[in-house]
């Protein structure tokens, strides 16, 4: 899941879906103009595998929807741990940097 987010292009796709949900593959391709359609497909596939986007085939179109659940889980479960210890870590860091060499 972090791996899925670790690419600027994929983050762009997510941002676009956040702005307008349910876009087709063609539309997503316009966001990444340097890539071929198949290249975009691969990125989309990674986002699907990470369960960050959910797709629906509607006729000859494939619609892409943002799934906000896992990204929110990460934010709550993982990042909040760091938030919790932020002050302690900061003071230790400060002390180490200021300590007499």
């Amino acid at each position: 899941m972090f791996k899925a987010l670790a690419d600027e292009g994929r983050r762009r796709l997510l941002d676009a879906l956040r702005e307008r949900n349910g876009q087709t593959l063609q539309e997503l391709c316009e966001l990444l103009p340097d890539l071929t359609r198949q290249g975009v497909t691969k990125h989309v596939r990674i986002l699907e595998d990470a369960n960050l986007v959910v797709t629906v085939r509607r006729g000859r179109h494939k619609l892409h929807y943002l799934n906000p659940v896992p990204i929110n889980d990460i934010a709550e479960r993982w990042l909040s741990n760091y938030e919790r210890d932020k002050l302690r870590a900061l003071s230790a860091l400060k002390a180490a940097l200021e300590e007499d060499p």
Copy 2:
């Protein structure tokens, strides 16, 4: 920065530093017993480049400190965007999944 977080080993290192700040490279090596020292060094290097850990050479030891600032920035600036639109995205997703095929 997401790239730096996109590896289980590196997350383990961060977790360990969150638990006890200021560990040496040797100590970090014990956390990743399958890797050689140089392997661990490379991971540490990536965390340093992402500004997630700060190191101090003290004598012949290299002490590693967690820098909680950037990870917190990410949480606030990036993830909160998704949190903000969570309900809207969820309802669109739900509607798309339930729509008549």
